[in-house]
């Protein structure tokens, strides 16, 4: 199973409501994946203040902000959204993430960028959303995932989204059957993995192609050529929102598009509470076709 939700806002008037809308969508998908959840929010000024980058960390030592600040010579802000810690600082995102990895090798970086904040945990997705303070969060784009673990253990690090490139997120409903062979190839090229999760292999694959200059549509086409298995993927970046399904398309997906937003979910009931949904264009993405919406 697993439940996917995503909301890409076009109408800035809705931005203060992003978190509450996303919370409602996530709550509808709990019975598709009750064991853990994760969300990513783009454009929240508290998580990621203007002019600063942020990094999301699991298992962060309590003095991490201070030690990272000392190492970088800047003031590092910290938010405790247990089990996720969010640090933000006026330095490049990659530098902030690399510094966290160097100073806290036992911690896991689960997201970084100039715009995105990733929050993950295990347990009831509705409780996690409240703990994250999601209902009151603003932003211009958000994705969420409720996980029913099939390929790896139930841990916060194994929750989605997998946000392994700057401002990138990937969530997945389904499973990849040849992920271990692709993982070995990526590891041979020096790619380091944080989990045993099959979805992380997809996210690392996409991130690598984006880093090499492919656009999101091309990266997802390449994924389709290389990965076997069942998948509906929702992939977001600093300016894009993309959906792709495998050629068999067993895993559900539904999209609602209107002037105010593009919304995607595993099932319609997650979209039912969105404003103006009655007048939105609602459709089921075709198999093996990459859909990309740009900001």
């Amino acid at each position: 199973m697993c439940g996917i939700v995503g909301l890409h806002l076009r109408d800035t008037a809705l931005e203060p409501r992003l978190g509450s809308l996303l919370t409602g969508m996530l709550g509808q998908m709990v019975d598709r994946g009750p064991d853990s959840a994760g969300v990513a929010v783009y454009g929240n000024p508290v998580f990621s203040p203007a002019g600063e980058s942020s990094v999301s960390v699991l298992d962060a030592p309590s003095d991490l902000a201070a030690t990272v600040g000392d190492a970088l010579g800047v003031t590092v802000g910290a938010l405790d959204l247990a089990p996720t810690t969010v640090l933000h600082a006026p330095v490049p995102a990659a530098l902030l993430a690399d510094t966290v990895r160097a100073l806290a090798p036992a911690a896991t970086v689960i997201g970084f960028g100039d715009d995105v904040t990733v929050l993950k945990g295990t347990g009831d997705p509705r409780v996690l959303a409240e703990n994250f303070g999601l209902p009151s969060v603003s932003g211009w784009q958000g994705v969420g995932h409720t996980r029913m673990a099939t390929e790896s253990a139930v841990t916060a690090a194994g929750s989605h989204p997998f946000a392994v490139g700057p401002d990138q997120c990937l969530v997945h409903n389904g499973s990849f059957s040849n992920h271990l062979s692709i993982k070995r190839e990526l590891e041979d090229e020096g790619v380091v993995f944080d989990s045993e999760n099959d979805t992380e292999v997809g996210a690392r694959f996409v991130a690598q192609h984006l880093a090499e200059g492919a656009d999101l549509e091309k990266a997802l086409r390449l994924l389709g050529e290389r990965f076997d298995g069942f998948y509906t993927l929702l992939v977001s970046t600093s300016d894009s929102f993309a959906v792709v399904r495998d050629p068999i398309a067993c895993k559900p997906a539904i999209v609602a598009e209107c002037d105010a937003y593009v919304a995607m979910a595993s099932e319609f009931r997650a979209l039912a509470g969105l404003p103006g949904i009655a007048d939105a264009h609602i459709f089921e993405p075709e198999p093996d076709r990459v859909y990309v919406w740009q900001r």
Partner: protein, 232 residues
């Protein structure tokens, strides 16, 4: 002896009533003759397992398996339907005014399923006697292993139409992306034009049967051929 008493009409608001309460009311011997369901909000398994000639109208989009296993009832969904609408229907009718997700009418033995919009992948998979009429397009692998019944498509069909088809008959007005194994184009004889006209009339669509192409089984997969052993 139990006597069915059909009351005139009733409305169930799913904002205040559970799916279980709705379905129990529809199954009750004193079920009303006509039922209106409001605020479905994509809920699953609405109006399933009905077994009496009642009219049910759902005002909005429904989730998975709406009107599954229907017998005798006439269900109208005024919106889109999720996976497996009218799955395993035996008789009666189901009408979706919007689009249907995958596996619409799967394994259905009888009755009429009308989808005014598009149907996604695997429409009519393993159909066993149902009639399905789709106003728009259908997705890939539709009528896969279809055994009996008729599938009418006013728009286009996706890839592998009628793969491993047994005896269901398929009429498509638009383009077919590709035919599945053992599915072939067939001649439209007078009886097929008449049959198609009946189905279009029953579904309430105004279309010219002469614009349709008939597809059916080449019947090459019925028997094992040793010459094809390497292909199995």
């Amino acid at each position: 002896m139990t006597t069915d008493t059909l009351l005139p009409t009733a409305t169930y608001d799913l904002a205040t009533t559970t799916t279980r309460e709705l379905n129990a009311a529809l199954h009750a011997t004193e079920a009303p003759a006509s039922v209106e369901v409001t605020n479905p909000q994509g809920a699953h398994a609405l109006a399933c397992g009905l077994n009496r000639p009642i009219d049910v109208r759902v005002d909005g989009h429904v989730g998975y398996y709406a009107a599954g296993m229907n017998q005798h009832a006439h269900v109208t969904i005024d919106g889109n339907a999720g996976v497996g609408v009218a799955e395993n229907m035996m008789s009666g009718s189901v009408r979706v005014t919007g689009d249907a997700s995958q596996s619409a009418g799967a394994t259905a033995h009888g009755g009429l399923l009308v989808i005014e919009g598009n149907a996604a992948a695997r429409c009519g998979i393993s159909m066993k006697g149902v009639d399905i009429v789709v106003g728009g397009d259908i997705g890939h692998m539709s009528a896969f292993m279809g055994q009996a019944g008729r599938l009418v498509v006013l728009g286009d069909a996706g890839e592998a139409l009628g793969d491993s088809l047994y005896e269901a008959r398929i009429y498509v007005r638009g383009r077919v992306a590709s035919l599945g194994a053992d599915c072939v184009k067939k001649e439209m004889r007078a009886e097929h034009v008449a049959e198609l006209q009946e189905l279009l009339d029953a579904a309430g669509f105004d279309a010219d049967p002469a614009e349709f192409t008939r597809y059916g089984s080449a019947r090459q997969l019925y028997h094992f051929h040793v010459d094809n052993a390497s292909a199995y």
